[in-house]
Amino acid sequence: MSKMHFLTDGLVKNNPTFVLVLGMCPTLATTTSAMNGLEMGLATMFVLILSNMVISLISPIVPDKVHIPVYIVVIATFVTLLELLMKAYVPDIYATLGLFIPLIVVNCIVLGRAEAFANKNGVGASALDGIGVGLGFTVSLTVIGLVRELLGSGSAFGFKLLPGDGILAFVLAPGAFIVIGYLMVLFNKYLKK
C-alpha cells in the first residue's frame, strides 16, 4: 500500500482548519494577509514535521503516564528553536508574527497529531503526516489570508489589484470569522467527499 495517502489526507480529508477545526487561534489572528497566513503556516509545518518525527522515534521508550509532558517538552523545544532562528535570520517576519510563534506550542494541531498519529506510526509515515497536515494548514491559512486581503485592502500578497481601500471589516476580527465560515461551507460542499 502506498504511503502517499498520509500526505494527501492532511490536505483534504483531515484538513486541520476546515475539517478538524483545530488551531483556530492563529488562524483567526494571523490571516490578515495572504503573506502572513503563508508564513504562519510554514512555521507551524516546520514544528509539526520535526515533532512528529521525534515523537514517533521516542514513543516506545516513553512511559504512558508521562507521555504528555514529554511530548510538550519536545514540541516546546522545536518552537523555541524556531523562534531563535527566526529572530536571528528573518527578524522582519518575526516582527509580524511575533506572539503567535511561541503560541505554536499550544496549537492543538501539533499535540493532536502527536497523540493521534505519530506515537502509533513509524518515523517515515509520521514525517509524511507532518508534511501533509502542515501543508493543509498552510494552504488553508494562505487562502483565508488571500480572501481577507483581497476584500479588506484590495491586494494580494502585497500587490494592489483593486482600486480603493477595500472593506476594512475583513482585515479586522469579524472578517476572519465570516471568511472562515464561508470557506468552510464551500470546502465541505465541493472538496470533502
Binding site: 490578515t32 521516542i58 514513543s59 516506545p60 521508550i61 516513553v62 512511559p63 504512558d64 503516564k65 508521562v66 507521555h67 509532558p69 514529554v70 517538552v73 519536545v74 516546546a76 523545544t77 523555541t80 528553536l81 531563535l84 532562528l85 529572530k87 536571528a88 535570520y89 527578524p91 479588506g152 485592502s153 481601500d165 476594512l168 482585515v171 479586522l172
Partner: protein, 188 residues
C-alpha cells in the same frame, strides 16, 4: 509498546528528554544570541538616526525617571547638545504605543518614529504612515501638544482619536522631559 510506568522509568525518561532538549536549545542560543543582539542594536540605531538631524556624536543610552520615558540619547556637536532622541511609551487603543521622538534643545519636535504599536489596522495603525498629514505636522512643531478636540493644535487621525491622543501624549512626554532637562528654561 510503551515502557512500564514505574517511578524509575518516568524519572529517567523525563530527565533524559529535558537534558537533551535543554542542551540543544543552549547550543542554538549560543549561535543566535549575537546575531539577535546585533539586529536589535541595528534597529535601535536606525530608529534614532531617523528622528535626529545628521552629524554630531551620539551618546550612550541615558536613564531617566520621567513618566513614560524609557531611555534617551543625546546628540552633541563640540560638546553642546544638538538634539535628543527620546523613547516614550503611552497607552494606545490596542496596547502600549512606543515612539522614538527627536527633540531639539529648545523643545521643538524634530521628527517621530513608531517603535512598537498594536493599533487597529486601517484606523489607528495609520499613525505609522510617515508621509501622512498626522505625522508631518509634528515635524518642527512647537506649541500645545494636544489634539484639536482637547484644545490643542494637532489634527487627529479621522476616527482614531484615542490613538492620536496617545501619540500626541507620547511626543509631549518626550518634549517635557527635554525641557525639564534644560532647567525648564523653555517653558512658554
Amino acid at each position: 509498546m510503551a515502557a512500564q510506568s514505574n517511578l524509575r522509568n518516568m524519572l529517567l525518561c523525563l530527565t533524559g528528554v529535558c537534558l537533551v532538549c535543554a542542551s540543544l536549545l543552549a547550543a542554538v542560543n549560543a549561535v543566535t544570541k549575537d546575531i539577535i543582539a546585533e539586529t536589535a542594536h541595528k534597529n535601535l540605531v536606525a530608529s534614532i538616526a531617523a528622528v535626529l538631524p545628521e552629524g554630531g556624536e551620539l551618546s550612550e543610552s541615558q536613564a531617566t525617571d520621567a513618566a513614560g520615558i524609557g531611555e534617551y540619547y543625546v546628540l552633541s556637536s563640540d560638546g553642546a547638545p544638538v538634539a535628543y532622541a527620546v523613547k516614550s511609551t503611552t497607552n494606545g487603543f490596542g496596547g502600549a504605543l512606543t515612539l522614538m521622538v527627536g527633540v531639539l534643545p529648545d523643545g521643538t519636535v524634530y521628527n517621530t518614529s513608531v517603535l512598537e504599536h498594536s493599533e487597529t489596522p486601517g484606523l489607528g495603525a495609520k499613525c505609522t504612515e510617515e508621509e501622512s498629514h498626522f505625522r508631518t505636522q509634528f515635524k518642527g512643531f512647537r506649541g500645545a501638544l494636544k489634539v484639536t478636540k482637547d484644545g490643542g493644535a494637532i489634527d487627529a487621525i479621522t476616527a482614531s482619536t484615542i490613538t492620536s491622543r496617545a501619540f500626541t501624549l507620547a511626543v509631549k512626554q518626550a518634549v517635557d522631559m527635554v525641557n525639564t532637562l534644560n532647567g525648564g528654561q523653555n517653558n512658554e
